[in-house]
Amino acid sequence: MNNRKQSDLLFRRANQVIPTGIYGHVAPGAGLPLDFPHFCQSGNGCRFIDVDGKEWLDFMCGFGAVLHGYRNPLIDGSVEKQHPYGAVFNQPSQLMVELAEKLVEQIDFAEWAVFAKNGSDLTTWAIRVAREQTGREYVIKARGAYHGVDAWCDPGLGGRIASDRSHILEFEWNDFDQLESLFRKYSGKIAAVILTPYHHPSFGPSILPIGSFWNDVETLCRSYGTALVLDDVRCGWRLHDGGSHKYFGFTPDLAIYSKALGNGYAISACIGSGFFRAGASEVFLTGSCWNDAFAMAAALACLKLVKDQETAESVLRKGTLFCEQLESIAQKCGIPLRMTGVRSMPYPWIEGDDNYYQIQTLCKIAASYGLYFHPHHNWFISNAMNDQDLEQAILLSTEAFEHYERENLSQTK
């Protein structure tokens, strides 16, 4: 078990003044409560140091918020340049216009952009824009998909009333017939279909779109006058530098980005086609610090980086190398591990491990080797990971998987 003296002390303090100590997807119970640190001290590149001084080789990247590495000098440098001027004023800074222009330039169907702080802010706003534009009530999403913390979609259990989801319909990812039947049943009532580029739920393998799924969805939405909303919050710039719809070859009406857009500086964006500009103009949108010039400076630097460094291709390449080697090591150790989903953000799935006991044990052992492998969430490959980092990750993974194999063997004896 890792030394967690400071982490545990801080957690006790936190628990006194913060309900549950740490909440949401980083709550101890959502990961490995006895193995992962509760608090971090610093990060650099693809590594972070916890409050007990242990260094971790990171495969979660701030749960996807950091694509270009912790403390990326180019991004931090851009923010530093804005420091003398300030972050939040009565009016937005010039950076907001520049950022909107940059997004419209880089994303093929975008004709406008708006900004907020989190993915949830704008997934919720986007479906309201769709409702305003279409005059319809219903929204369709894929069962088990995560779109944020608002009552219409959050994965939690508390604080909900029946009407929160009375106009949300669900279908199984890739089941186009089921989706089509919802359109027929609620004909003329569906404002939007909101989907992630591929299905990446927690607690389950990721599922890529099969066959002509995306084209069929797009055609269906067009024929019914329904908005196709792409929740690209998690995947954005990890699949394609022009948005993940380019990777899968379709065109949405609205798309939402966050996470990698700011590389850790809080910002989200919703972009849209010209047709939805009218709806977007009618749905109220604001937030206390949403015009934050620091985050916008960071986002501008990130957008430059993804072009200059071809980041999406780079993390896909690194992820492919890593996943292939990891699967090979696992196979040698008798672990039927599949790295599912897109290689730049793979989800580890052990065949037959439907209740997650094996992946939990494997990730606990990996944690003791300094590898931050999450058992229930897709991982993220940092573009700061270089050849030496990957080599070390593979070496440590080999040791961890062999350790797991030894433990398994001793238990079966």
């Binding site: 006895l34 259990l157 607690f203 209740n355």
Partner: protein, 224 residues
Amino acid sequence: MVNETRLPIWAAAQSIHACGRVLFPDRIASCLTPQLLSKDEISLGNSLVFSDPQFRNLLKSGLGMPKIGGLLLSPYRSFCIFSCLWKIGKLYKSKKSHTFAPLILRGSLEAICTYMNFHQEASRIFGTEKDSVLSINISETYTKYLIRYQSSSGWSVKYVEESLNSSASLTFKDPAIARKAALGKLDSWLALTTGEILLAGRIPMLDKFGYVARIAQREVPLPK
């Protein structure tokens, strides 16, 4: 169908009955068999009838007045019931964790299962878990309970001696921790990080279980 207003006392009655079945011979335990009657009344052992408020008083303060008819018709049986309730209440106060924690935990799990069956939101969220089995364990005592769904009886808790496959498991580090948890006195968020509670397996099911357990513990009166 139990309505949600009466669910807390029904869950408490089920919980007491479950404790009674462990503690006393069948003949005596049957005195505690609860039955919900109409007009906001509940009976124990088919003889003593309490109004809902009086039954709640009985649990919370030990002072609850039954309808006089049952007392007069079956004085010995009534005495047995009060005696059993007093003994169970005493166990809840006992600090002998090793001896009584499994029993108190059993009572608590019975109440939670009652909620999983009859609480509208709880039964909804457990609707997708009907093929899952949850094991609740206490280290050191080898106590193992399984919670599972059967179409005939709904969610129920059962003591098992052998280790069986489960979809998820919740293990208390020792009987004292189990006792605190069963009485709603354990900070489960902290306990998770100290190893006083160990979770493994299907975490979403454990999340749901924790959520329903906290609702039940807020609402169900404990015997005193």
